[in-house]
């Protein structure tokens, strides 16, 4: 299962046995909770009550880095830890703590994403909780959220996502800049601004001071590792390991005082920056951007000097990949259902064109694929870009990796993604630099603000249900909109156009509320997520003296996430065909059957009609066009809205569309009653832009053809397609070649992104029944990978129900 794809090994520089041991340890890692960060930040905040928030947070960051336990993972060449143990989740009480206290005794009992926690840790957390009462980000959000938003949430139309109670994350630092300047250089830039800039505002002064504090702290953190490595070296009996530790000690002693001096230093730095951002705040989707591009100069130089072999580079990348799995995040249970499998969504992108349009694929692109072939762990979330100019050999290695069944890499097609980015008004050479931030959300690395994709989820499935009841929600009795002007669920649509107009009315209404919710969260985060360290790594923040949330970034676009566009399209198609064209059903009959979840013989007859109506994913223009209309209705709406940063500096500050909706299609389904497409109440909605579960009957080419008819080149927030093949479908050289060409055809067919699970249903069923036998079965969930055994049962079922494509 694990093993190299196509690389030929010519020396002993990469220790494969050690990688195997490290990988196995990481597979059997146990998620725990660590109270250390929470305790330190509480003490630090108490000490610095009077400081501006950005400085208070910077000082807390410094205290954490100075005081937290550090360790070097066994065997590793890449060091740095987020919490006191491997895979322990630190706690961020400043964002929210009520749920933590409430769930303390539940963490280890969860059906998915369990965390073990000891009594001592619980006690420590309970002890600090009173300090945060009324002071957290979540407290502020809840204070400012309008009652009507809460009603929309009760209906199940809106779901307040992570940024209502945690940091944002979703940053790709400008790694080229960070590697060229080091923390020392970045500190110097902040100092120069403080010294030389005229008329600095208090906000700017505070930002620069905070930036300096965080850079100093990061450098001290490095020096702690220099000392630690030396101590371990002194105690180490193994000659090779001792020398490695001594090398590490030397490296850490000067690391990031200035420019990275070697490929090794550059890899270590990238990992450290990532890790430090995840100590500073608790968002997720901190991503690596185009690793093969910004690392290339360091690789090339060391290779030319004879200081680095390809094998050694592979070893370093592999260790780096493994270490990204030592990090963790704990979310409240209701959010966990939206994002099962301990995901961090740390996307790392390889391949694709350079800004000048030539092929950027290089040795490192291949080495990253090889590193993933050796590790097969959920992080980083590896993605590959390709275009007409990509080498077939690269795509073949991509296919070989996909064949291994880790669900990676997901693939992005430049010819679709670049025009999508340009639809925001970006210049072509800028758009060509895109990378994925998290799952499929595309952004320009180092130039983009936090991208809070989908942080207020809009449940499209629920909206189409409400359309069928005049805006009335049968399960809660709440009616926020009376579509026909009268209270109650009666509907009298005279034509399909009226139904579609009702859809658009409700969509507008609930999107207004969703954006309001985003704004409430964002305004609170301006204060609570004042992240001087992370902001300093993104273009324009240091120049402007502003954090990202205050408008520091060069560009700022947020994509609103929606769940269930295929359910909506399939439902509209059923209504159009059965009610208005063939007149086999009246609206009343359909509504009544839905209300009773298609129960009874009459219900079954109606459901049969609904199920046999055209379904998206079968290359049927009738319904595919309707699904495209659903997308267009949202694409038309979103640019009308502004983010909180509008007019404060960044270019853009508007909304765009994304179908990156992680596992939310499962819990969102819980809230939706029966729908006109024949879907039963509480069943999952569709994932991303994929067809509804098991609705696609014509095989993968038909799925691609259906998706190709969607406005993919306007989906600047990312379009998520997920397909499942049996392992036999990729077995053998001939099949591999066909699969490679199949991906290539998808690119020509206007597919934004595609990801593949290579596992058969039988295996999944067995793994669900006997998780202990399948600790390393990784699946692509929705834009990211997770170990199957860590998912909750409903999410497991949804993956099993995905159409399985086999060779025939």
């Amino acid at each position: 299962m694990y093993g190299l794809l196509s690389m030929e090994i010519t020396n002993q520089d990469c220790d494969f046995t050690r990688i195997e041991a490290m990988r196995n340890r990481m597979y059997h890692r146990k998620a725990t909770i660590c109270a250390q960060r929470a305790e330190i930040i509480t003490a630090s905040f108490q000490k610095h009550e009077e400081d501006p928030i950005v400085i208070k947070r910077a000082k807390a960051f410094a205290d954490i880095l100075d005081q937290m336990d550090i360790y070097i993972e066994q065997d590793t060449l890449i060091a740095g830890n987020q919490a006191s143990r491997n895979f322990a989740a630190p706690i961020f009480p400043e964002y929210s703590i009520d749920w933590i206290i409430e769930e303390l005794d539940e963490f280890d009992k969860r059906s998915g994403d369990a965390f073990s926690i000891d009594e001592e840790t619980k006690e420590k957390l309970r002890k600090i909780a009173p300090y945060w009462k009324g002071k957290t980000h979540q407290d502020e959000v809840l204070k400012n959220l309008s009652p009507i938003n809460r009603l929309a949430e009760q209906q199940g139309v809106l779901h307040r996502g992570g940024i209502s109670m945690s940091g944002d994350g979703h940053i790709i630092p400008n790694y080229e800049f960070v590697l060229a300047n080091g923390f020392g250089g970045m500190r110097e830039i902040a100092k120069q601004h403080l010294q030389n800039d005229q008329d600095l505002s208090e906000e700017q002064i505070a930002f620069y001071e905070a930036s300096i504090i965080t850079m100093d702290a990061a450098l001290r953190y490095c020096k702690r590792f220099a000392k630690r490595a030396k101590e371990e070296a002194n105690a180490c009996g193994d000659v090779k390991r001792k020398s490695e530790l001594l090398d590490m000690s030397q490296m850490f002693a000067h690391l990031m005082e200035g420019k990275a001096q070697s490929f090794y230093e550059a890899v270590e730095t990238v990992y450290l920056v990532h890790l430090l951002m995840m100590i500073e705040s608790n968002g997720h989707s901190f991503s690596f951007g185009r690793f093969d591009q910004y690392m290339w100069p360091y690789y090339e130089k060391d290779r030319a000097n004879g200081m680095l072999s390809k094998e050694k580079a592979l070893e370093l990348i592999t260790h780096f990949f493994i270490m990204t799995n030592s990090l963790n995040k704990v979310r409240p249970w209701d959010h966990t259902q939206y994002s099962g499998g301990y995901p961090l969504y740390s996307n790392l992108m390889v391949g694709g064109m350079k800004p000048d349009g030539s092929d950027g694929t290089n040795d490192l692109s291949y080495l990253c694929l090889e590193a993933m072939a050796l590790t097969g762990l959920p992080e980083p979330n590896l993605s590959a870009r390709f275009f007409a100019g990509s080498d077939h050999a690269f795509m073949k290695d991509v296919a070989r990796l996909i064949r291994k069944g880790f669900g990676m890499p997901s693939i992005f097609c430049d010819e679709v993604c670049i025009p999508a980015m340009m639809s925001l008004g970006l210049k072509e050479e800028v758009a060509r630099e895109y990378a994925s931030m998290g799952c499929v959300e595309t952004a320009i690395p180092g130039r983009w603000g936090h991208r809070a994709t989908g942080m207020t989820y809009v449940n499209f499935g629920k909206i189409i249900e409400l359309v069928m009841y005049n805006g009335y929600d049968p399960s809660t009795g709440i009616q926020l909109v009376k579509l026909n002007g009268e209270a109650g669920k009666a509907i009298h649509y005279q034509s399909y156009e009226e139904v579609f107009a009702a859809w658009e009315t409700l969509l507008r209404y609930y999107t207004d509320l969703a954006i309001d919710c985003d704004l409430v969260c964002d305004r609170a985060l301006k204060y609570h997520d004042a992240d001087a360290f992370a902001s300093s790594t993104v273009n324009c923040c240091l120049a402007r003296g502003k954090t990202l949330k205050n408008g520091g970034a060069e560009y700022d676009y947020v994509s609103s996430s929606n769940i269930g566009p295929s359910v909506v399209g399939d439902s509209l198609a059923a209504i159009k065909k059965l009610v208005f064209e063939e007149k086999k059903l009246t609206l009343e009959q359909l509504q009544d059957a839905m209300l009773h979840n298609f129960a009874g013989l009459e219900g079954a007859k109606i459901r049969k009609l609904c199920k046999n109506a055209p379904k998206f994913g079968n290359d049927d223009d009738y319904v595919d066009q309707i699904v495209a209309d659903v997308y267009e209705s949202y694409l038309k709406l979103l640019p009308l809205y502004h983010t909180d940063r509008y007019g404060k500096g960044p270019i853009g500050c508007t909304y765009t569309m994304s179908t990156s909706n992680i596992t939310s299609y499962v819990p969102n389904g819980f809230d939706v009653g029966a729908t006109p497409d024949g879907r039963l109440a509480t069943m999952p909605l569709n994932e991303g832009c994929s067809p509804c579960l098991s609705a696609d009957k014509e095989g993968p080419t038909a799925v691609i053809n259906s998706v190709s008819k969607l406005p993919n080149q306007k989906m600047a927030g990312g379009q998520l397609l997920n397909m499942r093949f049996t392992p036999g479908a990729l077995a053998g050289e001939d099949n591999l070649e066909k699969f490679t060409c199949f991906m290539e055809a998808g690119r020509k067919k206007n597919i934004f992104h595609n990801q593949f699970n290579i596992v058969d249903s039988e295996t999944l069923k067995k793994a669900k029944a006997h998780p202990e036998d399948y600790p390393d079965l990784m699946v692509r969930v929705a834009g990211y990978c997770a170990l199957f055994s860590t998912l909750m049962p409903e999410a497991q079922d949804a993956i099993i129900a995905r159409s399985e494509h086999d060779w025939r």
């Binding site: 079954a604 494509h805 060779w807």
Partner: protein
């Protein structure tokens, strides 16, 4: 055929085993042979068939009521007396739970070509195309010719999958249009052939030679079913025969027997002739592969 329409059981997109690249395979209904191991029994008859999925049945009783005594409740699903049921096709519409499904759709050559062209990008990217299979596609040569000509206007690569048991005129005309013939040779010995397929194979072997003489590119497909047509001498004779005419044979695909068709028999209310049949071991054809290679043939297992 009614008018200029043909009865088709399935249009299978993304086929990978029916010729080069990714293909769409069209399964025509109606067959001139009756192979004991047939994996597509729904294509034997040239009339629409009805599948019955008993696990979908909810015992609502609608079909029992409508069946005039030919349908009765069973423990799971219903028992259908197909010999006496006059209105089975009506159950497809009647059953609220989709336990009945029709197999067989009438398509004109134009309708079919439109569907087949949908995957043109995939054919082009993978060196694939369209395969006419069945049943016996060559039985409907006029229709296939018509459709093939429509596809040829778009430069589509076309395969004909045939067992050759049709009149020479049909094969002759088709071989002028298609790019590649997948030619089944199910046995060399006429007696074995007759025992396994119901008919002797003189015509099949003769047609093969004629196609070779016409220099029609071919891939030969040889199914091997344990205890049916796996006699060692006969297998060698099949290979020897092909090797003798190998100029036009670009590849020989050895096809291992599988039992995937068994569920279809049950759904069609048919008896599976090889009910106790064992599957072959995965590597049981390796020797034959090597035997063929030694004779200068390009061999595969599975295609």
């Amino acid at each position: 055929m009614t008018g200029d329409k043909a009865l088709i059981s399935k249009i299978q997109r993304y086929s990978t085993k029916d010729g080069p690249g990714l293909r769409t395979t069209v399964f025509f209904m109606g067959c001139s042979l009756r192979c004991n191991w047939c994996a597509n029994p729904e294509t034997l008859s040239a009339k629409p068939q009805v599948y019955y999925f008993k696990e979908r049945c909810q015992h609502c009783g609608l079909c029992v009521q409508a069946g005039n005594g030919a349908i009765s409740f069973d423990q799971v699903g219903c028992l259908i007396d197909r010999d006496h049921c006059q209105n089975l096709a009506e159950m497809v519409e009647l059953c609220p739970f989709d336990a009945y499904e029709t197999v067989g759709m009438w398509k004109s050559a134009e309708e079919l070509a439109e569907i087949l062209l949908k995957d043109q990008t995939f054919y082009e990217s993978t060196g694939g195309g369209v395969t006419f299979s069945g049943g016996e596609a060559a039985l409907q040569s006029a229709f296939v010719l018509h459709c093939a000509k429509l596809l040829k206007q778009h430069g589509i690569h076309i395969c004909l999958d045939t067992a050759g048991y049709v009149s020479w005129e049909h094969l002759d005309a088709l071989s002028d249009v298609v790019d590649l013939i997948l030619y089944d040779i199910k046995a060399f010995d006429p007696l074995i052939h007759k025992r396994c397929t119901g008919y002797s194979n003189e015509k099949i072997l003769d047609h093969f030679i004629r196609l070779v003489q016409k220099k029609v590119p071919m891939r030969v497909r040889m199914i091997v079913v344990p205890d049916q047509n796996d006699d060692v001498q006969d297998l060698k004779a099949r290979i020897d025969f092909v090797a003798k005419h190998r100029d036009c044979v670009e590849q020989v695909d050895l096809l291992n027997y599988h039992i995937y068709g068994i569920g279809k028999y049950e759904k069609l209310g048919m008896i599976y002739p090889l009910a106790d049949q064992r599957s072959a071991a995965d590597d049981s054809l390796k020797w034959l592969l090597e035997y063929g290679e030694a004779k200068g043939l390009r061999m595969t297992i599975g295609g």
